[in-house]
Chain length 203, copies 2
């Protein structure tokens, strides 16, 4: 049986090299090409024709999500695994819509990478379980539009009075909305609330 041929796309050169070193310790996996951005990856796909593409999301030139879509379109024999820092349900959804077969987080143990590559190569889907749960049961955005507007502004330190002026509301009203949002998000103050909302992708 021949090795699984992998194309690695990652913009941080040192991480790219390190991931290649990691995969080269696996007998059944061969890193046949590397790319520092989406455009390079697309070129490498054409010449190297890998079995699996492993790509970061946030890259210059072309994001991993766009790259995944292009890959499905033009090189359907290559299966895509997204490897990223970001546990955002929104990214996951867009990755799946773009035809990615795997979505793996960089804070998972190193061994999971090779494992995911093998499983995706076999035709399975590999989604980070916690993230999948979060996306599925995904408490969909509890915030109203007003709350979002206000929390957004409060999140970078603007006082209620300023927000009220900008939105043509009274100060008290702004504080009421903030209080609502803080409650909904289980926070104890506006800053924490903004952090939570941002992290969940609701801001």
């Amino acid at each position: 049986m021949s090795a699984i041929r992998v194309l690695l796309a990652e913009d941080q050169a040192m991480i790219l090299g390190a991931l290649a070193a990691l995969l080269s310790t696996e007998r059944d996996i061969e890193v046949c090409a590397r790319a520092h951005n989406g455009r390079e990856a697309l070129a490498a796909l054409a010449t190297a024709r890998p079995d699996v593409l492993v790509t970061d999301i946030e890259m210059p030139e072309m994001t991993g999500l766009t790259l995944a879509a292009e890959t499905r379109e033009r090189f359907p024999a290559t299966r895509t695994v997204i490897l990223t820092t970001f546990a955002r349900p929104g990214y996951l959804r867009r990755a799946l819509e773009a035809g990615a077969k795997g979505y793996l987080l960089k804070d998972r143990p190193a061994a999971e990478l090779a494992d995911a590559i093998r499983r995706v190569h076999r035709g399975e889907r590999v989604i980070d379980p916690e993230l999948a749960a979060a996306a599925w049961t995904g408490d969909p955005d509890p915030l109203t539009e007003r709350e979002r507007q206000i929390l957004w502004r409060a999140g970078d330190g603007r006082p209620s009075a300023e927000i009220a002026a900008e939105l043509h509301l009274s100060i008290g009203t702004v504080r009421n909305y903030l209080s609502e949002a803080i409650g909904k998000l289980g926070a104890t103050n506006r800053i924490e609330a903004a952090r939570i909302a941002r992290q969940k992708g609701w801001l």
Copy 2:
């Protein structure tokens, strides 16, 4: 000649594993321990007594900068190399003040890591050249260590009382430091101050 013993500290498990794999391809380098955060790293320093500590900056529990300072203090035989995504002059200067001997960016080629480790182990300093130039011209960090500790915590929404408890200070003192920091940074409240400081690389 025996191998250079290296402790790797990095919070993203997969990157940690990958870097370890990268270094293990070098004959003269041995990864003798790994840590997922600053606190773990400190413990590992005590037991493994590595020649070189390679650490990320942004980690939970304890940042790489604090870790570098602790290392110089308590394990002076271990030399520190900072390995980070962030090309911020403020980080570089603070790293050097904390006694780090190397400052390397994750978007440099993978080969430079082993090279930097060898050179630092030999007693040389290894600083990313572009960043060194930038650090010379930028305005200097106005924050004291206390202000930084406190502003950092205040920046993600923790109330003064909580910060005071954590740092064994009185609430009033915490507020005094915050007031100082807000003034120095030209902000109007703690959140804005934290934003400014982060953006300048002072947090």
